[in-house]
Symmetry: D5
Subunit: 94 residues, 10 copies
């Protein structure tokens, strides 16, 4: 099941930059692992913003929430989730 997720990151101003860098590194590993297992299907950078749009393919709402909640950068993110359905004009659905 597919979801479009927008993530806007606001780095904490009062955190030691090296600590934040470690969090970002853990975030990247986390994202790469989920992409390898196919659940994080796409991740794109929004031009000009510390934000991304991603497509998740997961079992359902609960699984998606667990994945998002465990993002190392979750405490510094504003997240918006849009559930997606198959579009009648989707070539793959013909």
């Amino acid at each position: 099941m597919l979801y479009l997720v927008r993530m806007d990151v606001t780095p904490p101003r009062d955190m030691d930059p090296e600590e934040f860098a470690r969090i970002k590194a853990r975030e990247k590993d986390y994202a790469l692992a989920l992409q390898r297992d196919g659940r994080w299907r796409h991740i794109w950078r929004v031009v000009g913003e510390y934000s991304n749009y991603s497509i998740f393919d997961v079992a359902g709402n609960d699984e998606l929430h667990r994945i998002l909640q465990d993002l190392p950068l979750f405490p510094y993110m504003r997240i918006a989730v849009t559930p997606l359905a198959t579009h009648p004009s989707d070539l793959a659905a013909q």
Copy 2:
């Protein structure tokens, strides 16, 4: 080059339903053709709304505008375009 595009359709209340059905059929053919040639990479239905999120892979801004402007449903759409860049955590970009 990638763009996220949201399209919200507001069907014209005063149009003959059959005429609108013809426009929608042309829209579907148009979308399928662009998906076949790879420029309209993804199209997903927003759950509960007469809207879609799509990913376009085109040469640039001008080509995207031509494609969108020629959508048969363009006169009945509100469209928002978000330019996308490669994300540092994109598995494919490692």
Copy 3:
């Protein structure tokens, strides 16, 4: 899987009232049937507005979209869908 759905109805000004009454009657039958089979778990009226909040329990995004799209009042509705997950403080989840 649970979703919170808000529906705002804007009756068409130029429709014969009796025809709209028939659509509303079909809407009610449709809602009652889905409540009987357990997929439309709750429906509440928003005080003062021609709107409702509902809870749907369905297999996933695609099923929810089919249900909403087939609402007789769908063409006269603005719909917002919020996917829900189990809350850690939910008594039933302890």
Copy 4:
């Protein structure tokens, strides 16, 4: 009488994590107690956000305010309350 309540939590950045964990534990006990006595009917997690939608069944406005105001996490919450009425299509109201 029913109310839909949305709660968005913004954890205080400058609080000792253990202290905040204690507040969250008190919040959970508080929520479980109110669910047991039937006033806090439902609580669902909004996917991807530190937020919940809840349904309260209380005597009226004043009681609901007391309950919400005494939430241990109240100082870190933004709350929106929507009063609900019986919907004409509610199966239980036929």
Copy 5:
């Protein structure tokens, strides 16, 4: 129980002015009757707008919705309802 209700009226452009005048006359009688029985406590005009703020004192959500829904101008109104509770600084509550 008290509620603050904002009503914004958008007169229908295509209605015979006399018919709309009759609806407004029925609206006024309806409002006066509810003020006499104490349920419509206050009604004030928002300066410069075809809108009012009103205070209702009713048994609860369902009664308020019935009252609002039966407003003759209801089909031409956008309504926002804010449930009110006793304020700790309210002189009458000391």
Copy 6:
């Protein structure tokens, strides 16, 4: 002359709680005094929020501003003022 005033309070996170309690006590005395002399006609708590709606009956704009500006909690408030006029359906105005 009547005004509807909404006040949203955001307590300062970094203030000693006792000092803020003293400010709140002064605020309450201030509100009670103005209610006794009739200028602060009504004060209601917005359910679930650290906010109130109030009705002021004062000589005019300047007096209202002085009253609001001197609120002990003014520095921690967001205030919105709506000037009110007599409504043609007001029972008292018939």
Copy 7:
């Protein structure tokens, strides 16, 4: 007493242009008369928009509402009223 008033005009599409021109002429006479008697102190065009910002100097809320409500263009306007008070840095108030 001073008020800042913003007026946004949306001309009715389905009205005979000459009839609308007559309404605009009446609007102009109305505005000129109020400027001559000092109650409509200033009127400025918002660059690029069929809108104006005006300053009214009137006895109070009720008078302002009567003036605005009697604007010939009132049915085609969206109006926002901001009550103004004397500013401590106003040269005239020193």
Copy 8:
């Protein structure tokens, strides 16, 4: 003096397409003439929307308003004007 102007066009649904085409042709001639005399410095299409961003270089507010108000498409436009000043990092201003 420079201004950034955004123009959003909403074509009238009930107008004969040929008549609208004539208005658009007059609009184009109007725009080309102003570009030739240097007052309409830039005009860009917003990708995906019937909108443009333009840069005007005119004597001041009044001249800009006259130019915009005389746009053949003005009645079908929503316009937003942002006055621009010289930026300290502007190469030309060094």
Copy 9:
């Protein structure tokens, strides 16, 4: 050339009150001087808010920006500028 300018002040919480009082005093002197030379034509307090609406009469965009940028309170302000043109119903413009 005329501009309507709204200024919203958010006092810095962590500044020594006396230092902020000095900045406010410089702001007042600055405003009085510009009013004396006719460029700061009007300044009004928005009732209930630490905000003002002002009318500036200056040579153009660049001069207005210099004036606003040099406001002692500029770092603590959110400013919105609306360029104004002569209104056809302005008595002075007849």
Copy 10:
């Protein structure tokens, strides 16, 4: 390829002013260099705000993101990017 970019700067309150001045100096050098090589085509100050509108002419989305992300003031900016296409009324496109 052209993009309109709006940048709103919020200076960090808790940074040593001299350090921030150094960042601004680096920002200026960065902007001047990009203007010299033609990629940063225009930069204008938004009157009254610590903001600018700029026009970039770059190869595409990825290049624009790299340029924006490397802005010394990037951490203190909110950025909005609008992709632009050739307008049919653009004199240069005739």
